[in-house]
Structures are given as C-alpha cells and as structure tokens.
C-alpha cells in the first residue's frame, strides 16, 4: 500500500475485498459447472490437455508473494478485461454455430460474462481506493480472434474456461492479501481475525 491507511479506507478496502472474494468464489463454481456442460456439449474429452491458448492470461504468477497490492490489482484487472473479450467471443461463436439450439451453454456463458464484468468493475473500485489511476480500455481492444478451425475453437473455449477458473482462485488469494491491514493503519482487526 502506498501510504498508511486511514481507518475508513482500510474498512472500505476490507469490505470490497471480502465482497470480491465472495464474487470470485461464485464465479469459480459457476465456471466449473459450465466447464462440465461445455465439455459435454462440445463433445470434448474432459481430460484433454490444452496447450497454452494465445491471448488467454495465465493465472500462474512467478514470485506471487512479492507482488504489491496495486500490481495484484492491475494484473487481475488486465486478466478479467481479457476474459470479458474472450467470453464475448465465445458467446458470439455459440450463437453462430448453434443458433437457438442448446441455448443453456449460451445462457451460462452470458451469466459468467456478467460476473467477469462485475468483477472487473470491482477491481477498478479497489484501484481507485488505492488512489491508483485505472488503466483506460482505449487502445487495449482485444486482438481480433485468430482464424481457428472449429475444433481449435472448441479447445480454445475449454482453455479459456479452465484458466478463468484458476484466475478466480488466484483472485481470491490476491484479495485476501489485500485485505490484510497494512502497517500503522491502526485499524481494528478484521472481524475474521477478531478473537
């Protein structure tokens, strides 16, 4: 954290973090459910190994422990903005490929897209709280989808959902780190830690 927290800022951050952790948890369980439905709908092998998919942010982070709060938030925000674009692409492909048939996956995808958008907005809130400018989205438009065959798109979708599920776990851990009171903030310990 850049400067010692005022008690109200610390409380606000802890509130945002705990709500963010709950949202990440919900998002993860929804993504896991969708993964099962998606694998079945697309006729894929659930155990199929999918190579790193271009354009999908990797949840694994080197030296995760050493990251500062803003770094965590900025990386999370970049990732969820990317997922927003990737999920929107998947939704468009579902409509193009399946039309009204098998709309359950489409609806679930749309629901998760909403959650990802909400989570991105949540991260922006936290960044503003950290008095850090929120990176603008202009010029950060996602690259046009590479021309992939249908099978490659199916695998790509699998890769996106798997990585998003990993990110939800990582985001919860990041937010827990952020929720820890910073030194000298004098803030009351968070309810979780109260004796």
């Amino acid at each position: 954290m850049a400067a010692a927290d005022s008690p109200s800022a610390a409380l606000r951050r802890r509130d945002l973090c705990s709500r963010g952790i709950r949202l990440a948890g919900k998002m993860r369980s929804d993504v896991i459910d969708l993964l099962d439905t998606y694998v079945e709908q697309q006729g894929l092998d659930a155990s199929a190994s999918v190579a790193a998919v271009e354009g999908v942010p990797a949840a694994a982070a080197e030296r995760w422990d050493e990251q500062t709060g803003p770094q965590r938030l900025l990386e999370n925000l970049a990732a969820y903005r990317a997922f927003r674009a990737l999920l929107a692409q998947m939704l468009e492909e579902q409509r193009e490929q399946l039309g009204e048939a098998d709309a359950a996956v489409g609806r679930a995808l749309a629901a998760i897209l909403l959650q990802v958008s909400a989570f991105a907005y949540h991260l922006e809130e936290l960044l503003r709280l950290e008095s850090r400018g929120v990176p603008s989205e202009e010029g950060a438009a996602p690259p046009p989808p590479p021309h992939l065959s249908l099978f490659e798109r199916k695998l790509r979708g699998l890769g996106v959902l798997r990585e998003l599920a990993q990110w939800a776990v990582r985001s919860a851990r990041d937010l827990r780190q952020l929720a820890k009171p910073s030194p000298g903030s004098g803030a009351a310990p968070s309810p979780a830690e109260s004796p």
Binding site: Q42, G43, Q97, G99, A101, S149, L150
Partner: protein, 490 residues
C-alpha cells in the same frame, strides 16, 4: 529387318527398322514408292526411322545400308500393305488439372486434337486416377466423345472419396480412336505425362485434419485424414468417442473411414488426431439431413398488408446455427424474393411476405436449403380467398333502449376490397347463446358497427364478435374480448 510402320494421324506414318550386322555403318539410302505415285522417292538418313505418307493401298520400300566408306553392303525391299500399318494416336496432353478442395473435386481439361482426324470419328479416353505415396490406382474411367475435325477442349470432373489435402492425387489419360475404315491394327495411345495435385503431406509444414469443419448427409461414408509434420507419429484417431483403425496414406498422413455416419450432436462430431508428445489436432464433422419437403404450406392475410405463410418443417435436419436450414419465399408473378427469419426450435415455421399493390393472385415457391440439399414447395393463392382478419378490438356496446344495442369494434387492417362477415355471440343467463351474422363493407383500419334488436329488457348480456371474409370464407378471426351490457328497463 523388322520394318514397322505406325501412323498417328492417318496421313503420315513413321517407319522404323533394325540392322542385323553389329559393325559400324554409314548412311542409309531410303526409297519408297506407292501405287499412286510411281517414281520412287529416295533420300538418305542416318536414322533408322523415317516419316513417309500413308499409302492408299500399299508402298514399296527399298532400304540400302552403306558402309562407313559409302559403299552399299546390304539392300532389302519391303512391300507395306495398309493392313500392316498400325494406327496409334498421339498421347493426349492434359491442359489443366484443377483441384477444388472444398468439394474434393478434380477438374481435368484436355484437347482432343480432333483437327488431325476426319470428322465424326468415335474417340475413347481412359482416365486413370492414382493416389498416395505408392501411386496406387484409385479408379480408371472411360470417357467417350466424337471428333469433329476441330480441336475440342474436354472437361471432366472427378470427386475423390477423401479430401484432396490428405495425400497427392495423380491423373493420366490416353485415347483410342475408332477409325472404322482403317484396316490396319489400331491401339491405345501412350499415357499422357502424369499430372499431380500435391497433398498437404508434401508441404514442409503441412499439417491438419481434413476435411475441415464440413457437413455431410446422414448415412454417408466419410474419409477423414490427419496430416502431421515430419518426425511426428499418430497415436490414435477418434471419431466421437470411438477409436478408429487407421489407413496409412503416406509417411505423414493417415486416415480413418467412417461408414454410414449417424447424425451428430448440435456442436458436431469431433474427429481427434492424437499425436506423439500429447499433441492434438482435430476437425468437426456435422452429419445431418437434407431439408424435408415443407408440409402443409398455407398462406393467409390478416390485414391485407402482410401475407403470413406457415408450414411444418418435416424431419429436423440436425444442423444448427450457420448450417441451419434456411427458408426463402419467392413469388413468381412479381419476382419478389423474401428470406425468412426462422427459429429452429419452433415446430411451426412462419414467414411474412408483403401484400403487393394491385396483385390478388400469388404464386409462391417456398425454397428450403441447407448445406446438404435443398427442397421447395409451391402454393398458388388468391389472396381474397385467404383472409383471416385480425381479432376485433375495442369492442364497445352502446344503447339507450330496452330491446336493442349497438356494438362497435375496430379491426386493424385494410379490408376495403372485400366484404366482411361478422358474427356476434349474444349470451345471457336466461337464454341460450345466440349467434347473429351480419355482412359489413370492409374498411381501411376502420371501426364497424352493428345493431342488435329483439333483446330482453333489463337483462345483462355478454357480447363478443369475430369476423371473416364474406364472399370466400376462409377462417374466422379469433373472438374479441367479451363486453357486458344490461338493457334498460322496459
């Protein structure tokens, strides 16, 4: 020795011979005379091959072999009869061999060299298709044509049972010309030089599973191949959940053969090629049905603005999204065509077509197509005989009498060209439900009024109304809402 003469064009012939002595010798003196050209024609040649005219009946040939010093050391005379001359057409030349990868079709073009021959000769062309690294013969087809004394370019298509990308395809052609009046032996030409369409397995970085994302009909036999890079190996190929036996096409390409393919799921059937080091490639096959003939096609108008056509789709195609069955409505008289937005999940299909000014009769063709096939259904309608008005709205009842009331209602539509038949249902607690019919001139977005008499005083009545076309009844509109009214006391 062994003088042999072959003609390629029935006019000139090439004669060849051999010399028995092993030693070296000089030029040869070649003389020939034909019965229609008495003085012999002579010339020297170093070859053991000359080209001379084909005789009408026979030719006398004298061949003198000279020594290196020029002295004649062997002379032989031959009598060549027409029946001794063989006719072998020149090997045809392939002009072009063009692949259409989307349909796995090869298009072959060649010239028949007909200008060389008299008019009207029957020509037979043997076309051979070969495939794989080992250039195995896939098929041989005989194509027939008639020569017209002109050079005609022939075109012929062949559709492979496997994607052209899978492995190299080769084509060669030869011909046989049936010169009935030629008495000598006749034979097939040599094969043309072979033409190749290289497969992806010949490209350095070529790889992939083919066909890519294609649509086939249920019951089809499909060959799907996996092309991989040098050094890789295919561990297995699966079609849906099943592992299939592989057919080796080349060192970098193997295929599976799916027989009598069954309908795929909505997202298609995955064909996965699992390679060494856990690498994977794949394609998606959509197996569905051609569109069924639309059943119970029916068209009507409810407002003389839009004609609504409905039909039953018949058997579902099993194809969705951008591969779904698409519908279009073409009206022959006006030439107007409308594409229909259809929700695949609805059992009934609906399509709207604008009512055209000054056109009463409509000759519809409903076109139905998807990537597997197309179908159509037609219907000729006189619109005035297919009116089913919209539901009467804003029904109101007025009246300050004990035995009569006036009903008013609105119909959204333009019926100025017809007379409407409207039926009022009158019900009350004391008497049976009665129906009262009245014909009213149709109007344009009009309100209609009817008076009902012979009612009972101080009685609570429920009224509702529906309408149809008076002259040519087709169908009633739905009933309006019910309106209650109590007549005044007597």
């Amino acid at each position: 020795q062994n003088l042999k003469c072959v003609t390629h064009n029935l006019r000139k012939m090439i004669c060849t011979w051999s010399v028995s002595s092993k030693g070296r010798y000089g030029q040869t003196d070649f003389c020939y005379s034909t019965n229609d050209l008495p003085p012999p024609v002579c010339f020297k040649t170093r070859e053991k091959r000359v080209e001379i005219p084909v005789p009408e009946s026979s030719s006398t040939v004298t061949i003198t072999t000279n020594s290196i010093s020029g002295a004649a050391f062997a002379t032989k005379e031959f009598e060549i009869h027409k029946k001794d001359i063989s006719f072998v057409p020149i090997a045809p030349r392939i002009l072009s061999l063009t692949p259409d990868f989307s349909t796995s079709t090869l298009n072959l073009k060649w010239s028949d060299n007909g200008s060389v021959f008299p008019y009207g000769l029957d020509a037979f062309w043997q076309i051979q298709i070969l495939r794989k690294e080992a250039m195995e013969k896939v098929t041989q087809v005989t194509y027939y044509s008639k020569l017209t004394h002109e050079d005609i370019i022939h075109s012929w298509n062949w559709t492979s049972d496997m994607p052209l990308e899978c492995t190299s395809h080769y084509v060669k052609i030869r011909c046989y010309i049936n010169v009935t009046q030629f008495v000598g032996p006749k034979d097939w030409s040599d094969w043309s030089p072979i033409e190749e369409i290289p497969g992806k397995d010949t490209e350095p970085k070529g790889s992939g599973v083919f066909p890519q994302d294609t649509v086939v009909a249920v019951g089809s036999d499909v060959t799907i191949c996996c092309v991989h890079e040098e050094g890789q190996e295919i561990q297995r190929m699966t079609y849906g959940p099943e592992i299939y036996p592989m057919i080796r096409l080349s060192s970098r390409s193997s295929a599976i053969r799916v027989l009598n393919a069954s309908a795929s799921d909505t997202s298609g059937t995955n064909v996965v090629c699992i390679l060494s080091e856990d690498e994977m490639d794949g394609t998606v096959l959509f197996v569905g049905y051609a569109p069924d003939i639309p059943q119970n096609l029916s068209c009507e108008t409810s407002n003389f603005l839009i004609i609504k056509c409905t039909w039953k789709p018949g058997r579902p195609s099993g194809l969705y999204g951008k591969r779904r069955t698409k519908y279009s409505l073409f009206e022959r008289i006006s030439g107007k065509n409308v594409s229909c937005e259809v929700n695949e999940m609805n059992r009934e299909r609906v399509c709207g077509f604008p009512v055209l000014a000054d056109q009463k009769t409509y000759d519809f063709i409903l076109g139905v197509s998807n990537p597997i096939g197309q179908m159509e259904s037609s219907l000729l309608v006189d619109l005035t005989q297919r009116v089913r008005p919209k539901t009467p709205e804003k029904l109101t009842v007025s009246g300050n009498s004990s035995t009569s009331v006036r009903l008013h209602w609105f119909i959204n539509g333009s019926f100025a060209e017809i007379t409407l038949l409207c039926q009022t249902e009158i019900s009350s607690r004391h008497s049976e439900r009665k129906l009262h019919n009245v014909s009213v001139p149709g109007g344009k977005f009009s309100t209609y009024t009817v008076q009902l008499n012979a009612l009972h005083p101080y009685t609570k009545y429920q009224f509702r109304v529906r309408c149809s076309a008076a002259e040519h009844f087709w169908r009633w509109s739905d009933w309006s809402n019910i309106e209650e009214h109590t007549t005044l006391e007597a």
